[in-house]
Structures are given as C-alpha cells and as structure tokens.
C-alpha cells in the first residue's frame, strides 16, 4: 500500500487530535488528555511553534473504515543536552492499528531522524511505557538504547498543586 509522509498543516490538527486520543486510549491514560484541536492549532502553527508534526497519508481508495486518509502521525520538538548540544525529542509516534506492518511507523520515524540531522541534532530521544513490548522491540531493533535500564534515568514531574505551591513561594520580581 502506498503512503505519503508529509509535514502537517494547520488543517490536519483535527485528525491529529483524533489520533492523540487514540494513542492515549492505547496507553490507558485517556483521562489525561486535556487540550483541544484549537489549542493544538495555536501552539503548533503560530509564529513561535512549540512542536512540529509529520503525518502519514493514504489515497482515497485506501481510506479507513470511517473514511480517514490521515492514518499516522509523529509530534516532536527540539531540546538541548548540556553534554552534546541540540537534540530532537519524539513525543508521539502513532499509526492506526489497521495500517500497521506496512512501514508507516518506520517512515515517520525516519522523517524525524532526517529533520533532526538537518538541524545538527546529535540525539533522538523518546519515552516508552515499560509494558509496551511491541514498541520497545521496534525501537531497540532500530538502534535505540533504554537509558532507564542502562543508566538508571527516571522521568520526574511537578504539576497541579505541587507546581502551584512552589510558584507561590517564588522570590518577588
């Protein structure tokens, strides 16, 4: 099946929003999705975009059972390593279940690697859930290393009340 990988346009945000929720459902965390299509449009397509996005598109004749032709996406942004410099962080990578096994995931990830290479990035990083063995195997097969297992790195977060409390105690300007 032929597919095309291309940079997302503002009009794609509705489909991207749909797939963000599908991915969250797969990760069993759908109640954590709080942003809307409008916010995605604002944050990704303004003068200072917070992220970039590539989508995978199939022709009309291969559209999904519900009529979708945009069948996969990757959302990524640029970060910084104080040891090595610019890095690309692949936040989301998703292909609709009926389109897997056709090289679309690989195509999307290769595109992120290509874009990262053009921007002189020395690393591509991502996080994966420990029970998601199919994805873990996919990334390891392409050369990724599990930094949590090998070096003990843990991801931490301050949000909600904890963040509010810290912010309230900040020194006044």
């Amino acid at each position: 099946m032929d597919f095309k990988i291309r940079a997302a346009k503002q009009e794609d945000c509705k489909e991207i929003s749909r797939m963000i929720i599908e991915l969250a459902v797969f990760e069993k965390m759908q109640d954590q999705v709080k942003i809307s299509t409008q916010e995605l449009e604002r944050d990704g397509f303004c003068s200072n975009p917070r992220f970039e996005c590539q989508v995978a598109e199939v022709s009309e004749e291969h559209k999904s059972s519900q009529g979708y032709t945009v069948v996969g996406y990757t959302l990524y942004f640029y970060t910084y390593s104080t040891w090595m410099g610019p890095t690309v962080f692949m936040e989301d990578l998703y292909v609709m279940p009926e389109y897997r096994g056709k090289g679309i995931g690989k195509g999307l990830m290769s595109k992120v690697a290509q874009v990262g290479k053009e921007k002189q990035c020395t690393r591509l990083q991502l996080t994966v859930l420990d029970w998601n063995t199919r994805s873990l195997d996919f990334y390891i097969m392409k050369g990724a290393r599990d930094m949590t297992a090998s070096e003990g790195w843990h991801a931490l977060r301050f949000d909600g009340e904890a963040l509010d409390k810290l912010a309230a105690e900040a020194p006044k300007d």
Partner: protein
C-alpha cells in the same frame, strides 16, 4: 548572600564550568563535548535552544566580584495531552554552597516562570541512584513517572539517526 539572575552571553564560561561540575557529580564528566562557542551560539544566537538562570554569591561587605555558584538550564517542550511544559535540563549548586536554600529558591523561580508562561507542569530526569536529589524533589511534591507510570527513557545516538535518515534502498 546570594542573588538569582538571568544568564547573559558573558556568563558562558561559568555555565560550561558548572555543566562540567554537575557531570562530574553524576560521574559522567568525560561525556561533556560542548564548547563555550557551542553554548554561546545555542543559547544566545538567533534561535536559542535553552534559557539559563544563575545563582551568584557575594560575601557580605566585600568588594570582590560576585561568583557564579549555581545554575539551572531549561527550555520549553510540549505534551499533546496538556500543552506547554517547562523542561529542566540541568540544575546544580556548587557543594560548599548547598544547604543555604539556593536550590530551593531556584526551583521556586522556575515554577513561577512555568506558571507565568502557561506551562501545565515542569519535567526533568534524575538518575535513580541520586538519592539526595530524588528526596529534594519528592519532598516538594514531584512524582516519579518512571516508577509510578512505567515510562522509560530511550535514546538513538548520532550513528543510529544517520542510518534512519538515509534514503531507503530501492
């Protein structure tokens, strides 16, 4: 006494010095490949990749120049579920100046910045054997996402990126 301020281009030598001290503390000092030139271009050029806060120390009633003894490097990332995030990349206070509340004040300032810029949360990574840092963060309400939700950090290095970026064989 100490003061927190935004880093300027002239601070790049001090920033690199502290990056190397933090890497040494993490027992990975040979991994720092960045130079002052890289830091200057990447932080103070046309498209900054990072922002930096510095902690300066000056002895009371001294005429000496203030010394840079702590820093935090951060940037903004994105969570497709909640929106903008503040990501704390490096955070370090020189050993002899710990226990004076400097780290605490830096963290509060960063949280305030996060709220001001409409970030829903602040993220960072810590090595699991760095018990004192993990305690510092957990005491202030941080959650360990790796432990509680099972997130693992994965990395592709430069060779793997080049391989993936190459056009597929026909």
């Amino acid at each position: 006494m100490f003061k927190l301020r935004k880093a300027e281009p002239r601070d790049v030598p001090d920033i690199l010095r502290l990056i190397k001290e933090l890497a040494k503390y993490e027992e990975m000092e040979d991994r720092v490949l960045l130079t002052e030139k890289d830091l200057l271009e990447d932080g103070f050029g046309e498209h900054p990749f990072y922002q930096c806060i510095l902690a300066e120390w000056q002895e009371e009633q001294s005429n000496e120049e203030p010394r840079v003894i702590g820093f935090a490097m951060y940037y903004f990332t994105y969570d497709p579920w909640t929106g903008k995030l503040l990501y704390l990349e490096d955070f370090f206070v020189v050993e002899e100046f710990r226990g004076k509340g400097i780290g605490s004040e830096i963290l509060k300032l960063l949280s305030h910045l996060a709220m001001k810029t409409r970030c829903g949360s602040m993220h960072f990574i810590v090595a699991e054997d760095n018990r004192s840092s993990i305690e510092f963060y957990k005491r202030r309400g941080a959650e360990d996402l790796s432990k509680e939700e099972g997130w693992r950090l994965f990395r592709f290095d430069k060779d793997s990126i080049l391989k993936m970026a190459a056009p597929a064989e026909e």
